[in-house]
Symmetry: C2
Amino acid sequence: MSEVYAARRTRLREYCNAGGSAAALVSRPANVRYLAGAAPRGAVLLLGKTEDLLVCGGPTADRPGQERPDEALRVQALPGVGGGDPAVAAADLAAGQGADSLAVEEHHLTVARHRALGSVAPRLRLANLGSAVEQLRVVKDEEEISCLRIGAEIADQALGELLESILVGRTERHLALELERRLVDHGADGPAFPTSVATGPNAGHPGHRPTDRRVEEGDFLSVCLGATYRGYRCEIGRTFVIGTAPADWQIELYDLVFAAQRAGRESLVPGAACRDVDRAARQVLDSAGYTEGLTALTGHGVGLEIDEDPQLSPTAMGKLDACVPVTVEPGVHLPGRGGVRIDDTLVVRPEADGGPELLTITTKELLAL
Amino acid sequence: MSEVYAARRTRLREYCNAGGSAAALVSRPANVRYLAGAAPRGAVLLLGKTEDLLVCGGPTADRPGQERPDEALRVQALPGVGGGDPAVAAADLAAGQGADSLAVEEHHLTVARHRALGSVAPRLRLANLGSAVEQLRVVKDEEEISCLRIGAEIADQALGELLESILVGRTERHLALELERRLVDHGADGPAFPTSVATGPNAGHPGHRPTDRRVEEGDFLSVCLGATYRGYRCEIGRTFVIGTAPADWQIELYDLVFAAQRAGRESLVPGAACRDVDRAARQVLDSAGYTEGLTALTGHGVGLEIDEDPQLSPTAMGKLDACVPVTVEPGVHLPGRGGVRIDDTLVVRPEADGGPELLTITTKELLAL
């Protein structure tokens, strides 16, 4: 793996040098992890003029269960108890290496930290690295996709087991906790984001936080969960009906959201504009009159964070590339009645390779449980 | 409750006006919640020249399970799908109200957001609010302490139940998940922080992330958990021995950490210097030769965040006031062997009121389980 991290750092270094900076300071944890193999709490990565360093806030004893940084990378732990801000120390080190300019992540560093960097190394010109690392992270290699695939399998398993159990009478909170336990049982590092279980009038609400409401006959039940596996986060969302037979309005609404979600999935081809994928899903809902209350996004990238570029939204710029994993997750929520969300994680693949690769394979038929 | 929030905003406004700013923008979520009663995702609070506003990023439909903002506060939702950064909108509104200066949280706003604020309202002078709200939050009112007390009771209950179950053979991960389920069972909003369960050589490691290691006879088992109740977060940590009888080294180490923790607790009086509380605990460990590998803090404030001011550390400034809740949590970890941490949440109270109020009342006798 060490070559992978070294190659990523080389790409970033080339980008920085082209922008006129001899050195870069990466502080956003997911970016540090992407380039260094691990992001101990508070650690920052210095791509220095003469050497790259992972600068950590305190002693970095090997802890079980913790990822280890790339062995090719020197780790510098700040001395003493509570050794200060690693970003400030890294700026000092960059200046010590003779760099005259340091590109920093202005979308991550606070104004106060940025000022502290300027104070410790007043001769260092602070430039903006922007989201250069986030942009490198968009297209995944097969190793990364493999982590997402395993995470998706784990989420499918956890969801499948839940569906076999008795649901009526149990609270949203308990179902969410049980799903999270099952994720860990099946080998996840943990949930990729707080598991959402929404029943009855809550169903279909994006990001609904589980309450003490109990599952009742006739409810819609929508569930959204994901596993983190080796740092990679995937997402699956499904909606079910509780009871013997769904009502007509439930079938209609489900079919509509399903059609929107399929339209989104089918438009996932390399070269497609992100806003066109969004439009494909959104216009199915729009044309049925559900213009109000739609979410800002119908999907987004996933990876080391659960919400990455690209964004699938009406105002999104850019096009999809092959090997970009995204969610497709349109939904409709009717206040007071509930609603439907269907959410898959897929990888954009060329037609010649069979088109989009579906990672979350739980059925999307409307199940009555 | 509305008067409480209004009074807090008045105090902050007086502070700002004294500093020469007619308006303030609060963006750090715990600070927004403290002043507005709720912090919908991404929302910021504008203490404006003519009116206070809670500015939210999208539609703010009432969701079950979500706190509601202070009713005396006007809520402004940004229009449309994905309506931009509420902080930028708030700066625009502040300028529209005729403010010439806006104090912002430079320790929370990123450089990029700060620049966007400057662009939207170029005539507005951006000043630094610093940690003014964090400082207001240090001393708690009895309502806040009551939330912490209930949270502590919940954590005590969850821990007590775990101790009655069979532990040998179960993994750290499973024990942690079960504790979190029990927290929710007993009425917590959720865990206050990721529950830590550490066995054998992992025991006593601060912030240990649970692994698949199973509990064995003869292990130290250290557990650290907390409940969030109405937003308020408490913390308890205990260490146990698995098996019929602890070994001599285990008893010695336990007694030492217990003595250190008691020394810290007993030094919690209004007016005590934070560093003296730290020293009281730390010197017990120091004088027994455990100078290496001690953590930076032996305790910290708790409240809407799990790690607040004051900090109990060798370099801490400031003194303790009455009604400040803090943890006291010294520990020792011996690499390869394990260790002991003992952690309570207490409220500083004057001697006349009976001295420090212990919120986490689970026994600190060395239990052999």
